[in-house]
Amino acid sequence: MIYEGKQKIWADYQKEIPEDHYFYVRSCIRQSFFPASEVTFLDITRNKLGKDIFETEHHTTCGGIAYHSDAIPQETAMTIIARQFALMKKYGYENYVCSCITSFGLYCETMETWREYPELQEKIADNLWKSCHLEFAKPKFLVHASDLIFKYRNQIAAKSKYKLVNVKTGEPLRVVEHIGCHYSKMFPSKGVGGAEYPYVLVGMVEAWGGQIIDYPERRHCCGFGFRQYMIQSNRGYSLSNTHKKFESMEPFKPDMIITNCPGCPYFLDRWQYVIAETEGKTYGENGHGIPVFTYEEVAGLVMGYDPWDLGLQTHQVGVEPLLDKMGIPYDPAKKYLGKNGKNIGEPEKPHCLK
């Protein structure tokens, strides 16, 4: 019964996602900490699936992190966004796909506010012309990059080399999915599956053979909190919220975590390290942490990309236990090499976290 209820709620939030032809906009955090994820997204969509995903170097930050740290006015953020949309139009696109969840939420908020207050939209169009001499436009379809991987999940499954299955036991891997708050908490209808039962990552995990874990704090924020992380003296906020999530998921013994926001995987990965180093507590098996991934990384693993090409060596929580479970081969000697085998040293070992 409950399951049917969930199915019904999900059915109410079927989002229309066009198949092809997108203007791609990057994420500041994903580029900084997970550059290979964006590389993988473009390689899968363009080269493996033959989609038209266009990028121009002229786009910038949307200003979202500054806006949510209260460090720029709303009108400034809206005009920067209008500039991004205008570039989309200038290059002949009407579908807009962004890599960042903070951006996605802010685009949704902005378009909704413009819809309700046309005089504000007019003002922003005027700002845009005065500052950039660009023609105002709005996307016909606005999606997050995880929506696209969700859309293509079965095509990816058809090309997969590995499954989210434990090769030793044959059991599906136990996966925690963590959705960035700004994906659909504000505008449930803009996300695949809404806010309470978002289906965007669940759909990927199911298509690729894994099993989703439900746990009490599943919808709790990772704890980023913008200013609550940016300023060192506020950072306890961020740590304590991640801690709450891990304590809540621990009894369910997750094999891995998949995320769609660029910030969440950074926090869920790094705060596990801090908890291990300061409290001696680890959440995975035998002193390991629970490996945390972006959806691009998981898609890449499933499709047989080399783990070190995916940038998994830049995670602080080691990913090897998960690679072993999936039966993915990797060369430990190559983990920290630069391009063409260049020796660039390697990170120190954490004291506690394996």
Partner: protein, 223 residues
């Protein structure tokens, strides 16, 4: 208040407390979003002014989890964002410890945006200030160019790609947007207020920034 976020975010609040129950900030800080929404809906100017001068409005993490769960479709998070903007406009942000952090946030985030076109830029994200980023980030910081090259990024490079150099023409447009939408003026005001405070305390700008970055009184916490 004229802010669009108040128009969007406030319908009659029934004081049910759902927002407070699910709020990550309320777990950690002495913070009750329900109370803030209630004060704003009663439009009591004296109480609102008190809020604008308080630490309370700076506790929210802007996760917007409260929006989903409110039975009245209120957005406590949006209302708080509007209050923060007002606190900055009126200068009241300087009256609270958490409000004064605006000096640092404005400086760091906007210098990334205006100099590089990114909110977060790896060369200014320092291990020294972010030890939680781990020993792996310490290694990455020392080898950023090599690591971006290894991973197919384009750090400070020409053309498209992850962390490419954003052309100066585009950065100039961002600056023009800042100028005509009030951001430049806001940043100047916040900076001037911070420098004045530093002078009152007998601190250099650098010492003041460090104080804001690292110091916190214990009065904020729930536990």
């Amino acid at each position: 208040m004229q802010d669009y976020r108040i128009k969007e975010g406030l319908n009659a609040c029934i004081n049910c407390g759902t927002c407070t129950a699910i709020c990550p900030a309320a777990e950690f800080y002495r913070y009750d979003p329900r109370r803030i929404v209630d004060i704003v809906q009663h439009q009591d100017d004296a109480q609102i002014e008190e809020l604008l001068k308080s630490d309370t409005i700076w506790y929210c993490g802007e996760c917007l989890s409260c929006v989903t769960r409110c039975p009245r479709k209120n957005a406590a998070g949006l209302i708080i964002m509007a209050l923060r903007s007002l606190s900055i406009q009126t200068g009241f942000f300087m009256e609270s410890e958490k409000g004064r952090q605006m000096y640092l946030l404005c400086k760091d985030l906007n210098s990334n945006i205006l100099n590089y076109g990114y909110c977060v830029y790896p060369r200014t994200f320092k291990y020294k200030e972010h030890q939680e980023a781990g020993v792996v980030w310490k290694w990455e910081e020392e080898h950023l160019d090599d690591i971006f090259e290894r991973l197919g990024g384009n750090l400070d490079g020409e053309g498209a790609g992850a962390m490419r150099k954003i052309p100066q023409k585009d950065l100039d447009e961002l600056k023009k947007i800042y100028d005509i939408t009030g951001a430049t003026q806001m940043l100047e005001n916040v900076r001037a207020a911070g420098l004045k405070k530093a002078e009152e305390l007998g601190l250099t700008e650098e010492e003041y920034a460090k104080k804001l970055y690292t110091e916190s009184s214990n009065k904020h916490f729930n536990h």
